[in-house]
């Protein structure tokens, strides 16, 4: 189901701090990860951790994400994730939810563009019930019309509520332009017209085709032994079909470089979102990229963008750069908001910093500090059972070896100033920015004025 939609008022930037992306950081392994194969033949990653009487599992079906939505049924996979815990087997929606609630079991399904994923968290004392409910949800979801309607209504309300939010508007434009004519361009949360078209039969077909063992990846941790872990995995997943729909999708490079697009809105600030082609995780220059980005804009305070735009001049509350990695394309993003009349100056500063990091070696201190942060902060994302499960899943989704964390530090420490200039020159092409603006910026030359939001209606 869709949990509470928190009123926007409550949205804390705070959460960003705690929900670090899995692939962000790493240090030496006090995480002793084991790859196990169950008697039923399912391989998964496991960490024993008896700190608290809790068990957490993160799993995903690779390539089963929202990129599979038909254009006229955008939001189908998201709705599948909203409804898979809304009744299964003999339990209708309320009975299923009540069973979760009475045992304090957290079961959640999610859909990213690439993957369909789930998390299960339970007290050890309720583990049997938790496994039974997850098994039911995965193998015999009901997709009853009534709960499906409720989830559609909640999504429609979410979309209409979000239409007041500049950052949501910006995301619609960025997706549409950067991924033009590709499945990623669609609205994974559905549109006002597509959601009503989706039927229980659509969800059942999706479930049959995509919730299959050949796509399955699992991370399991907490208060359970290897044997218990293997039994749990077999119990939950063994009955799933071996295969389903063929894998689809092909790689592409970001679209619409060198375009400035504006959605006019009468608000005091302009939201700026800059997009450039990014870099793959398996690229030989991936580690140089990580260090370069830490220095350039992903590091918050101390990074050059934040120093120049916020700390020295007070032009913004925050400016950040980040890499978005998906299966078929990668983008490098810079985003910030600034008062409408300061837009031009902010863009000038961003371009100046791009040029600078390409042409002048970073300082010794910058290099040292960036490496220290990237290597030293990883343990901060291992402080709960659910976080550990999430790390186990994330490493596998990134196709990383089980000893990855052991080598990450040395790979980062090997990066040189020349490496940084090389990767900066490759990524930070200030003449080919896709720039998406929401607001009423002054002194802007636009190539495109967007009148109607794409993939909303």
């Amino acid at each position: 189901m869709i949990r509470k939609i928190i009123p926007v008022f409550f949205l804390p930037f705070f959460l960003l701090l705690f929900l670090q992306p899995v692939h962000a950081l790493a240090k030496d392994s006090f995480l002793s990860i084991e790859s196990l194969t169950s008697p039923g033949g399912i391989t998964f990653w496991y960490v024993e951790d008896r700190s608290v009487p809790i068990i957490a599992m993160s799993f995903a079906f690779k390539g089963a994400g929202t990129k599979n939505d038909p254009e006229d049924k955008q939001g189908l996979v998201r709705l599948a994730s909203n409804t898979m815990d809304e009744g299964a087997g003999d339990l209708d929606s309320q009975a299923f939810q009540k069973a979760l609630s009475d045992h304090s079991i957290t079961l959640r399904f999610d859909a990213s563009r690439d993957n369909f994923s789930g998390t299960l968290r339970t007290l050890k004392k309720n583990q049997d019930k938790a496994y039974a409910l997850l098994t039911l949800a995965l193998t015999s979801p009901r997709f009853d019309p009534a709960p499906l309607d409720r989830m559609k209504n909640a999504n429609l309300a979410r979309i209409k509520t979000s239409m007041a939010e500049p950052d949501w508007i910006s995301a619609r434009l960025v997706n549409d332009l950067a991924y033009e004519n590709e499945p990623y361009a669609l609205n994974s949360g559905g549109t006002l017209s597509s959601l009503p078209r989706i039927t229980p039969a659509d969800l059942k077909a999706y479930h049959k085709d995509y919730i299959t063992k050949d796509r399955l990846v699992i991370g399991l941790t907490g208060d359970l032994s290897k044997k218990e872990a293997e039994e749990a995995v077999d119990r939950i997943f063994a009955q799933l079909p071996k295969t389903g729909a063929p894998k689809t999708g092909s790689d592409f490079t970001m679209k619409n470089p060198s375009i400035t697009a504006l959605y006019k809105k009468d608000i005091p600030q302009t939201l700026v979102h800059i997009v450039l082609p990014g870099i793959r995780q398996d690229d030989p220059d991936y580690y140089p990229f990580l260090v370069m980005n830490q220095i350039f804009g992903s590091g918050g305070f101390g990074s050059r963008l934040m120093e120049e735009v916020r700390e020295k001049r007070g032009l913004t509350y925050g400016i950040y750069s980040n890499l978005s990695r998906m299966d078929h394309t990668q983008t490098f993003n810079i985003s910030a908001s600034t008062r409408n009349d300061q837009y031009e100056e902010m863009m000038r500063l961003v371009k100046k910093e791009m040029l600078k990091i390409k042409s002048t070696p970073v300082s010794d201190k910058e290099l040292k500090d960036a490496k220290a942060y990237l290597t030293g902060s990883f343990p901060l994302s291992l402080s709960s059972t659910a976080q550990i499960a999430s790390v186990l899943l994330g490493l596998q989704l990134d196709h990383l070896p089980i000893n990855y964390l052991d080598h990450r530090t040395e790979n980062i420490n090997a990066v040189t100033k020349d490496d940084i200039m090389r990767i900066a020159a490759r990524i930070l092409k200030e003449d080919t920015l896709l720039t998406v603006l929401v607001g009423a910026p002054e002194n802007v030359k636009t190539d495109k004025i967007i009148e109607v939001l794409p993939n909303v209606n």
Binding site: F14, S93, P268, G302, Y317, S337, S384, G439
Partner: protein, 459 residues
């Protein structure tokens, strides 16, 4: 994002404190200068969360200086002791840590998450800015612009948040909670370094601060460090917090926001209710249970009746945060389905409330809610920063360590009658006329020639 306002504390950051016996087994001591120290040991990973909570927030600002508590929080990163502007965060980052701070109406907190071996370094830096704040004026100027951009970004760019701010102002007349933590724009623009320093000088002192450390450190290790680093700071005279009283009001307060930027009708109610400090403590515990029983999840009363059975609402939420120095707010937020009028949905909500007041919760509802909350307390232990937050906001708003540690036991003692009683006193639809509740309606405004009219559907 950095140095943000802390708009809502307990609700999102961790489920809840507590469980039978003690929940976290925290250790507590007080330094000679009056500074309280709380330690929650957790040796799972060699990291710590280190937090300093000052028992002062936006509600303690002088009249006409709204935003100064939060501005000061930003300036605390701009040079102190031996640290140059910005050096605090850069040092933490270069040690592989993260730091941040937040301001609420009642407290201002600074925290770092970092490898346990750096605890002493972090403590020294934090102690250094308790007395030694000295940002250069140029930095004060640029940071002044930053907080103004922060208000533009978080409030003025976003009509919904701007409306919630207006509702809050209506709910707390003559009381500082009616003034936003970030400040009113006109007063923010007039803020000065002298005002910020005066606020710092008046309120920032060891005897008005709480040190909370959670993670991989023992009491034997922490205590001598705390004595050596924080214990040497001099005790200061700190005023008693004094806030204006909300006068008795007449009339039902309803605000309507009709705008072309709004595309979804919503109904939001804010009820002014007791916090854990303002009335009998059992009132706030009963309100926590009431919130759980009526709005805990999709199987509890409001959702079950309004979304599942009667299909009147697309969403319904209820939330309540007991950790507040003065009265707190209980939120109800509902989205009517397109074929249901706001009046119809409100009438249905009121019917549920009236029935609840008349009959109270069932014993089964109470037991199930208590069990969920007891389990939530076990999950709360599965975190390093979560427990530190729980102690911080509880103590900084007038609660005690036992309030956190024995929360499940206290919850278990609450009866159906006590819950019925708080429902009747604070949520009774028949009592809407006494101004303890504000209802806010957001409605789309349809125009014929606006450029976006295609995006909007008829309501």
């Amino acid at each position: 994002m950095f140095r943000f306002l802390f708009l809502c504390s307990a609700l999102l950051l961790l489920s809840c404190p507590a469980h039978a016996e003690t929940v976290f087994n925290a250790k507590h001591f007080t330094l000679e200068n009056g500074m309280d120290v709380v330690l929650i040991e957790n040796h799972r990973v060699p990291i710590i969360t280190h937090m300093i909570w000052y028992k002062v927030g936006a509600a303690d600002e002088p009249s006409g200086q709204s935003g100064i508590a939060h501005f000061l929080e930003h300036l605390m990163f701009k040079g102190s002791g031996d640290l140059k502007p910005g050096e605090f965060s850069k040092t933490i980052s270069a040690l592989g840590g993260r730091d941040n701070a937040f301001t609420s109406q009642d407290y201002t907190a600074y925290f770092q998450m970092i490898a346990a071996e750096h605890l002493e370094t972090v403590m020294k830096m934090e102690a250094g800015r308790m007395n030694g704040l000295k940002p250069p004026l140029s930095e004060v100027e640029s940071e002044h612009k930053v907080v103004i951009e922060e208000r533009r970004q978080n409030i003025e760019n976003n009509p919904r948040r701007h409306f919630f701010e207006t509702m809050q102002a209506a709910l707390f007349p003559n009381h500082p909670y009616g003034t936003p933590v970030i400040g009113w724009m006109s007063e923010m623009q007039a803020m000065t370094w002298e005002q910020a320093y005066a606020f710092y000088d008046k309120w920032y002192a060891p005897n008005n601060a709480i040190l909370v450390v959670s993670g991989d450190v023992t009491l034997e290790e922490l205590k001598p460090l705390a004595e050596k680093i924080y214990g040497v700071l001099p005790r200061e005279n700190v005023p008693v917090r004094k806030r204006n009283i909300i006068p008795p009001l007449k009339g039902e307060i309803k605000l309507t926001f009709e705008s072309e930027d709004i595309h979804q009708r919503t109904i939001t109610r804010m009820y002014r209710v007791p916090s854990h400090r303002t009335e009998n403590r059992t009132d706030s515990l009963a309100l926590e249970l009431l919130t759980e029983i009526l709005g805990g999840d999709s199987t509890t009363r409001l959702y079950k009746k309004l979304v599942v059975e009667d299909a009147k609402a697309a969403t319904i939420q209820l939330s309540y945060d007991p950790a507040s120095y003065d009265d707190s707010t209980l939120w109800l937020h509902a989205t009517p389905l397109d074929n249901v009028s706001a009046e119809e949905l409100e009438a249905a909500i009121d019917e549920i409330l009236t029935d609840f007041i008349k009959k109270g919760p069932t014993e089964q509802e109470l037991t199930e809610a208590q069990n969920r909350m007891e389990n939530a307390a076990i999950f709360a232990r599965d975190s390093v920063t979560g427990p530190a937050m729980a102690f911080g906001y509880t103590l900084a708003t007038g609660g005690t360590i036992d309030d956190v540690e024995y929360w499940p036991d206290q919850i278990k003692l609450i009866t159906t009658e006590q819950i019925q009683n708080v429902a009747e006193r604070f949520l009774d639809p028949a009592q809407k006329g006494d101004g303890h509740m504000v209802t806010g309606y957001m409605f789309p405004k349809t125009t014929t020639n606006h450029k976006n009219s295609k995006n909007r559907e008829a309501q």
